[in-house]
C-alpha cells in the first residue's frame, strides 16, 4: 500500500452569507440562482444544460490547484451525496405526463456531477458516487484514499455535494485532492479508516475536514466571489 497526501481542499459554502441554517433562500437578495460555471471554466460548452449539483461541483473544482496533464490520466473522482440527483429526478418526473425531456433524463444519475468534473478537467481514473444519509463524503474520501493507496490511480478528487431542493437547506460542496506520496506532491499525510454505517448521523459531514483546518488557522486561503446574482464564500486550503 502507498502513502497518500491530502494535497488540497476546497469548500464552497455560502451559509455564512445568508443567515441561519435552514434559510429557504440561497442568496442575500432572495434569488435561487446557481453558480455560473463559466466564471471558472470560460470555455465550457452549453453551460445551460448543467444540473444544480454539477454547477456547484464545477464551481468548487474551478478553485483547485492546476493538475499536471500527466496526472489527469490517473486521477479518479469519488463524490458523496445525501440526496444524489433528487432535484433532477423531480424535474424529469414532472415532464413524464407531458413530454419527457431527454436532456433531463440523461442527468438523473448520482454520478452526473462527478462525470462533469471528470470531463471538464480531463480526469480519466475511476469514478464513483456514494449516496447515503450518513457521511457520504467521508465514505467517498475513504474510497478515493483506498484506490490511491492500492495503486489503482495516482490521485483522487474526493468530496461531497449537498444540493437539496431549495426549501430544505442551503447547498455546499467540499472537494479534497489526494495524491500518492510517491509523486512528491505537497500536503499532509492522510490516513483513512473511517467507514460509516449508513445510518443517520449528521455530525460527521465532510465540511468538518475543512472547518477544522480553518479553525486552526493553517493552510487557509479564503476567496469570496460575488458574480452576477450569485454570492458565496469559498475557502481553498493548501500547503
Amino acid at each position: 500500500m502507498r502513502d497518500v497526501r491530502l494535497a488540497a481542499t476546497v469548500l464552497v459554502d455560502h451559509r455564512d452569507r445568508i443567515g441561519p441554517e435552514g434559510a429557504s433562500c440561497w442568496n442575500p437578495d432572495g434569488s435561487r440562482a446557481a453558480p455560473d460555471p463559466r466564471e471558472f471554466f470560460p470555455d465550457l460548452d452549453r453551460p445551460g444544460r448543467l444540473d444544480l449539483p454539477s454547477r456547484f461541483v464545477l464551481a468548487a473544482g474551478g478553485l483547485l490547484p492546476p493538475l499536471p496533464e500527466s496526472l489527469r490520466e490517473t486521477t479518479g473522482v469519488f463524490l458523496g451525496s445525501t440526496t444524489g440527483c433528487l432535484s433532477v429526478d423531480r424535474d424529469f418526473a414532472a415532464t413524464l405526463a407531458l413530454r419527457p425531456q431527454p436532456s433531463l433524463y440523461a442527468r438523473t444519475l448520482p454520478t452526473t456531477a462527478g462525470a462533469e468534473i471528470s470531463r471538464v478537467l480531463g480526469l480519466r481514473g475511476p469514478g464513483l458516487a456514494v449516496v447515503q444519509e450518513a457521511s457520504p463524503g467521508w465514505q467517498a474520501l475513504v474510497a478515493g484514499w483506498q484506490e490511491v493507496a492500492f495503486g489503482t490511480c495516482d490521485a483522487a478528487l474526493c468530496g461531497e455535494y449537498h444540493v437539496p431542493p431549495p426549501e430544505d437547506s442551503p447547498p455546499w460542496v467540499v472537494l479534497a485532492l489526494l495524491v500518492a506520496v510517491s509523486l512528491a506532491a505537497p500536503g499532509r499525510l492522510l490516513q483513512c479508516r473511517f467507514l460509516g454505517t449508513g445510518d443517520p448521523d449528521p455530525g460527521t459531514d465532510l465540511r468538518e475536514l475543512v472547518a477544522a483546518t480553518r479553525r486552526s488557522g493553517a493552510w487557509q486561503r479564503e476567496v469570496r466571489l460575488e458574480g452576477g446574482r450569485w454570492t458565496f464564500s469559498l475557502a481553498a486550503l493548501s500547503a
Partner: protein, 362 residues
C-alpha cells in the same frame, strides 16, 4: 493489508430468467429469454416477485431475501453473519426506489435506501451505497475487494438491485435508446436496449477456501460525454488493461460483455476489446438479450453468471444475437471454456467503465 485474493463463496439472484441461480443458469444455457411485453406492450425483463404494493417495505424485503440466500449458499447462517460487525455491505443501484417520487409517504431520495435495506436484513456492520451508473454492480464488487484486502471487513455482501419503473422506461424511451422488440446484443440489426430488473447478491470472503476469485479489477472514465461512450473505447480498454495487470496477465477464456444492444455501446466495446487484446479477442457472450438491461444490478448479475460459467467450464450463448460484423466472436451456442478466467465488463452514462477478471478455483 490482506494478501489473499477475495473469493465469491455464495451467490443468489432474482431476474427475468428465474428466481434462483440454478434456474437462471439453466435457462441461460438453453438460450431462453425472459423478455416479454408488459401490460403497456413494452418489452421488458420482469423478475418474479410478490406485489410491490404489499404492506411494509416489499422492495427492501425482496433484496434482503436474495441477500440471505447468497449467504446460505456459502453454508453460513445469515442472521449470525449479518450481525457480525466485520461483515460489510455494499449496495449498488442507480435509482434505488424511484417509485417513491410518485407515492405519498415513501422516501423520495436515494439517500435513505441503504438504511431501508439494512433494516430489512438486520445488518449491523459497515455499509455503503455506491453508484457508477450501469457499472454500479461491478464497482460494488471492487469496493468489496478493497474493504477486504484493506483489512476493514472480513467478508462483504454485495447486492446489486434495480427494478422496473415508468420513470426509467420513459427515460430511456425519450433518449431513443429502447428497442421495439427484444434487444439483440452485438447484432447487425440491433436497435437499442430492453430494460430489465434484478436483484443479485454475492457473498465475498477473504482468506483461503473454495469459490471463484476476483483476480483483478480496473476502472477508468472516458471523460468525453454524458450519454454516448467514447467511440474509440479508450476508457474501457484502459480498465481492461488495468484489470489484466492486477491479475498478473494470463489468458482469458471468455468475455462477459456489457452488450446493451445500442448501436454506440456495442461498437465501442468491440473497439475496446481489440485495443486490449489485439485482433482476436476472446469469445464474447452477453446476457441482456435474456434478462434485459438491469442497470445498477447488471454488473453483479453478470459477475454471478461469469462465476457460474467458470464453475461449469462452459460459455453460455448470447440470447437475441443472430449475426454481427463487429469483428467479435459472439457465442451463439454453449461452448467449452478454454481458460479458467473470464473478463466481465460494464460501462455507464458519464463514461464510467469497470472491468473484472474472475478466476476459477485452483
Amino acid at each position: 493489508m490482506v494478501d489473499e485474493v477475495p473469493r465469491i463463496s455464495g451467490m443468489a439472484a432474482c431476474c427475468a430468467l428465474g428466481g434462483d441461480v440454478r434456474s437462471v443458469w439453466r435457462n441461460l444455457l438453453e438460450g431462453a429469454s425472459g423478455l416479454a411485453p408488459d401490460r403497456t406492450g413494452t418489452v421488458v425483463g420482469a423478475m418474479p416477485h410478490d406485489p410491490w404494493d404489499a404492506d411494509g417495505d416489499p422492495w427492501a424485503a425482496c433484496i434482503a431475501g436474495v441477500a440471505r440466500r447468497a449467504i446460505e449458499d456459502s453454508g453460513a447462517d445469515p442472521a449470525r453473519a449479518l450481525a457480525d460487525p466485520t461483515t460489510g455491505l455494499v449496495v449498488a443501484t442507480t435509482k434505488g426506489d424511484i417509485e417513491g417520487l410518485r407515492l405519498p409517504g415513501r422516501p423520495v431520495s436515494l439517500g435513505p435506501f441503504l438504511r431501508r435495506v439494512r433494516t430489512a436484513m438486520d445488518h449491523r456492520g459497515p455499509a455503503e451505497l455506491v453508484s457508477a451508473a450501469c457499472a454500479s454492480g461491478a464497482a460494488a464488487i471492487v469496493r468489496a475487494d478493497r474493504l477486504i484486502r484493506g483489512g476493514v471487513c472480513r467478508r462483504v455482501l454485495v447486492v446489486g438491485a434495480d427494478r422496473l419503473d415508468p420513470f426509467l422506461v420513459e427515460g430511456f424511451r425519450c433518449l431513443g435508446a429502447m428497442a421495439a422488440g427484444p434487444c439483440r446484443p452485438y447484432d447487425d440489426e440491433r436497435e437499442g436496449l430492453s430494460l430489465g430488473e434484478a436483484v443479485a447478491a454475492l457473498w465475498i470472503e477473504g482468506g483461503p477456501g473454495p469459490g471463484v476469485r476476483l483476480a483483478g479489477a480496473g476502472q477508468a472514465q472516458d471523460a468525453v460525454g454524458m450519454v454516448r461512450p467514447d467511440p474509440s473505447g479508450g476508457g474501457l480498454a484502459r480498465a481492461i488493461r488495468q484489470a489484466r495487470t492486477e491479475a498478473r496477465g494470463g489468458p482469458v477464456g471468455a468475455i462477459c460483455g456489457h452488450g446493451t444492444a445500442t448501436e454506440a455501446n456495442d461498437a465501442m466495446e468491440a473497439e475496446a476489446f481489440r485495443s486490449a487484446f489485439g485482433d482476436s479477442p476472446p469469445p464474447v457472450f452477453g446476457i441482456k438479450g435474456a434478462t434485459g438491461h438491469t442497470l445498477g444490478a447488471c454488473g453483479t448479475l453478470e459477475a454471478l453468471v461469469s462465476a457460474m460459467a467458470l464453475e461449469a467450464g462452459l460459455v453460455p450463448p448470447t440470447a437475441g444475437h443472430r449475426a454481427g460484423s463487429l469483428g467479435l466472436d459472439i457465442c451463439r451456442f454453449p461452448r467449452p471454456l478454454s481458460e479458467g478466467r473470464i473478463l466481465s465488463v460494464n460501462s455507464g452514462f458519464g463514461g464510467l467503465n469497470v472491468a473484472l477478471i474472475l478466476e476459477a478455483s485452483r
